[in-house]
C-alpha cells in the first residue's frame, strides 16, 4: 500500500461497527464488525460517509500526538462541510464516552449547535496510523441501533438529539457521490496532491 492512502466509502449494507472496548457486546439481528480504534457503536449504512486515511510514521500530521492529528483531520472535514453549506464547530472539551459514537464527544470531532455530525477515531501502530471519520449524510434509524444493542427505546430520542445529519440541516438529501468525491479530493489536497484518492460505495 502506498502511503498516504485515502479512501472514502458510502456503505450500502447496514452493519453495527463496535469500538475496541465493546468486543463483549452482543449484537442482535445485524452483522457486527469490530474496529481496532476506540469509541462507541456506529450504525454504518447509506446514511454515513466514511473516510479512511493511512499515514506513514513519521508524518507531519502525527508529530504532535493524536489530539493534534484529529484536529488536522477534522480541519479538512470542516472546510469540506463548509463548502457544502454546513458550518461546524470543532469539539475541544473533555472526552465524553457513550455506548453510541454519535452521542459521545472527543476532541476534534465536528458539531453543529452541539450535535455531532462527524466522528473521528484513530489507530496508531509503529509504522502507520489510521485515521477514520464518519459523517452523517442522512437520517440514521437510531431505533435499529438501540434495538440491536438491547438499549431502551428512549435511547432513540437521546441519539436523535445528540447527532445531526446533513440532510436535516439542508432540508434535502446530499449527493453522496459528489460529496464523497469532494471529501476525497480535499484530503488528497491536504496530504499529498500526487496521491490518488479512491471513492467506493
Amino acid at each position: 500500500m502506498r502511503l498516504p492512502f485515502i479512501r472514502v466509502v458510502q456503505p450500502r449494507g447496514t452493519v453495527v461497527s463496535l469500538g475496541r472496548s465493546q468486543r463483549h457486546i452482543a449484537v442482535d439481528a445485524l452483522p457486527a464488525r469490530y474496529r481496532t480504534s476506540g469509541g462507541g457503536a456506529v450504525l454504518a449504512g447509506p446514511w454515513l460517509l466514511k473516510a479512511l486515511v493511512v499515514l506513514p510514521r513519521p508524518h507531519g500530521w502525527l508529530d504532535q500526538g493524536p489530539a493534534r492529528a484529529a484536529q488536522r483531520f477534522a480541519d479538512v472535514h470542516r472546510r469540506w462541510l463548509a463548502a457544502q453549506g454546513i458550518e461546524t464547530e470543532t469539539y475541544r472539551g473533555p472526552v465524553l464516552d457513550h455506548w453510541a459514537c454519535f452521542a459521545g464527544r472527543s476532541p476534534g470531532e465536528l458539531l453543529v449547535h452541539d450535535r455531532k455530525i462527524t466522528g473521528i477515531a484513530q489507530t496508531w501502530r509503529r509504522r502507520r496510523v489510521l485515521l477514520w471519520s464518519g459523517t452523517l449524510l442522512g437520517g440514521v434509524p437510531w431505533d435499529v441501533l438501540a434495538n440491536a444493542l438491547s438499549h431502551a427505546p428512549e435511547a432513540e430520542r437521546e441519539l436523535s438529539t445528540a447527532a445531526v445529519s446533513a440532510q436535516e440541516l439542508l432540508f434535502k438529501a446530499p449527493d453522496a457521490l459528489g460529496w464523497g468525491q469532494a471529501l476525497a479530493a480535499a484530503l488528497q489536497g491536504a496530504l499529498d496532491p500526487n496521491e490518488r484518492a479512491t471513492l467506493r460505495s
Binding site: G38, G93, V95, T123
Partner: protein, 81 residues
C-alpha cells in the same frame, strides 16, 4: 523503571484525560526487547501501542486490562537487563 505511555500522546488533551489499558501482550516475568509493543491502550478514541522503554524483565503490571490511568502514570515496572 516505570513503563508509561509516550507523553506526546497526551498533548492537547485535558489534564484529567484518562487512557484505558485494552490488553497486555506480555505477562509478568516475561523478557521484553527495547521498543517491543507490550500493551495496547485507548486514549480519546485513539488505539495506541505502549512500547517497552528498554530490554528487560516485565516485573509487575500496575494497571491491568480494563483499568484506566492518567498522564504520566506508570502502567508497569520493568527491570532493565
Amino acid at each position: 523503571m516505570d513503563v508509561t505511555l509516550d507523553p506526546q500522546h497526551w498533548d492537547d488533551l485535558p489534564d484529567d484525560a484518562e487512557a484505558v489499558v485494552d490488553a497486555w501482550l506480555v505477562v509478568e516475568g516475561a523478557h521484553v526487547d527495547a521498543g517491543q509493543v507490550i500493551a495496547r491502550v485507548t486514549l480519546a478514541k485513539s488505539a495506541l501501542d505502549v512500547d517497552s522503554p528498554s530490554a528487560g524483565i516485565l516485573v509487575r503490571i500496575v494497571v491491568p486490562a480494563g483499568r484506566s490511568f492518567r498522564r504520566g502514570g506508570s502502567i508497569a515496572t520493568l527491570r532493565p537487563d
